[in-house]
Assembly symmetry: C2
Homo-oligomer: 297 residues x 2
């Protein structure tokens, strides 16, 4: 299986399109890396670039984008609604196929080290890459944002970065790098207008209340119907097909059916293959059986 | 969606590996064509090469293989258990994605015309490409095999080829070309040793007895368990997920469960996407949501 890592760096620039393009172009130049998506938001004054490829090229492309962002973004001038501590704010590495989360933790460390050494930016590691339990959650690492961290970084030992100097980069601020699993956004629309039922099911299935592993769920009203909206943060533990069946069962108890479901955004082939294997008890099914996949290897 | 056609020419050579390699190599030389598989059988004295690619390159590769087979196979010397009428015996074109069956019929005609004109081989069209109802079934076209057809081709108007001369090519004999839909081989293993139950379910679900469209089914014993073994000859009408659910329902009536299921050989992404859409009522699911697919386009 080919090794594929996704990386989705977030930059503190959502207004100057020319700068966002320059950042994305630094990744496009790296052979073996594909830029899948570039998004920006003016009120957040923030952009994100989704790249995919083999681990080493992705590492290289992430570094080149950070270098460009460091050159063109000045945090002293930055205003925006979204929390942020630096020009390149957060850089998650995500395993897609043939790569473990541990390998992504290693990539995070390599990137952090290089950025600290060559760009003199303080770097914090978060999520699976965190070296301290109080840095697992991104919100904790970003506490006080750019302005607050600037005051604390040199004096508070709890804010000492994992790599790099204990002072903010003059223009780029600080940065968070880490590794997390692939997140699948999955919604199930119920055949009822009663949003209370969606909320009830959501609270039953979410991990926090003892439900399914790696499932975050909320009940919403969407287009006049009740929707269970989920983030599946570990599809190897709970995949979308299992979420579907569990919701179907819970809804049935409340005399409600499922109207439709929706995989939102991109999904790794691995998750589709796992769903086929489980749903049809087809344990031997292998991604290499896909005609299209064979064509490109 | 990229246009992809599969072609699986069958050649009357299963013993001289060097000749089989020469045939496959003539396809490998064509840019835009991928040789997915080469198989041969000594007692059948027959080989088949599976190629995939865009329609025009596949057409070109098929012609090049036929030309090589014409050069190296002499039907006057050929002995083998499998029915055959020529050096290149049968050439089916199969739509995989972004291509209709009609486009494959057009390819069949183009190939037949070129082979008739340039190699002077008589060509019959079969299945979806058939121009006469008595040529839809391959067995009817191959009646009498090479030896029998040699005697009839010049005298019996019912054996007049669709393209090319009404006489056998001195060494290559005759050829059948056509178009058919992608065939999915799918087996469902029942949680019983009673093969009678598999046979009963098979006879209930097969199209011939008024069951599911495009489903051929047989009951077997495999590894001590009863198996419903299917060929799904039109997955747009009946896909593997529907076959699974129908068998599950029929088995339940007979108090039997499903032990496992198995997709045998290769399957187009389109069939997987359709199964996800139907099973999880995810009507909006699109092959472009697959991360891996996006990487190569």
């Amino acid at each position: 299986m080919q090794k594929l890592v996704e990386c989705v760096p977030n930059f503190s620039e959502g207004r100057r399109i020319s700068v966002i393009k320059k950042i994305a172009n630094s990744a496009k130049k790296i052979s073996g890396v594909r830029v899948l998506d570039v998004e920006w938001d003016k009120s957040h004054n923030r952009s994100l670039v989704t790249i995919v490829g083999a681990p080493e090229p992705v590492l290289k492309a992430a570094y080149e984008m950070i270098k460009t962002a460091t050159e063109f973004i000045d945090m002293r001038q930055h205003k925006g609604e979204h929390p942020r501590i630096g020009a390149t704010d957060v850089v998650p590495f995500v395993p897609v196929s043939g790569v473990t989360l541990d390998e992504c933790v290693l990539l995070s460390n390599k990137l952090a080290q290089k950025v600290a050494k060559e760009l003199k930016i303080p770097v914090y590691l978060y999520e699976a890459a965190a070296k301290r339990s109080d840095r697992v959650n991104l919100a904790d690492v970003r506490r006080g944002e750019y302005e607050g961290l600037s005051k604390e970084i040199g004096t508070n030992p709890d804010r000492k970065p994992d790599y790099g100097p204990s002072k903010m980069h003059p223009t780029a601020g600080a940065m968070v790098v880490g590794a997390r699993k692939y997140l699948i956004a999955y919604n199930v629309n119920l055949d009822t207008k009663d949003v209370g039922i969606a909320k009830k099911i959501a609270s039953k299935i979410r991990e926090k209340s003892g439900g399914l592993s790696g499932v975050k769920a909320l009940g919403f009203e969407v287009g006049g119907f009740a929707q269970v909206s989920m983030n599946l943060v570990d599809f190897e533990k709970t995949n979308f097909d299992q979420a579907y069946r569990t919701i179907e069962k819970e809804a049935k108890k409340l005399k409600v059916g499922i109207k439709s479901s929706e995989i939102y955004g991109m999904i790794p082939l691995e998750a589709i293959v796992r769903a086929i294997k489980t749903t049809f008890m087809a344990e031997k099914f292998n991604p290499d059986q896909l005609l299209e996949k064979r064509l490109y290897e």
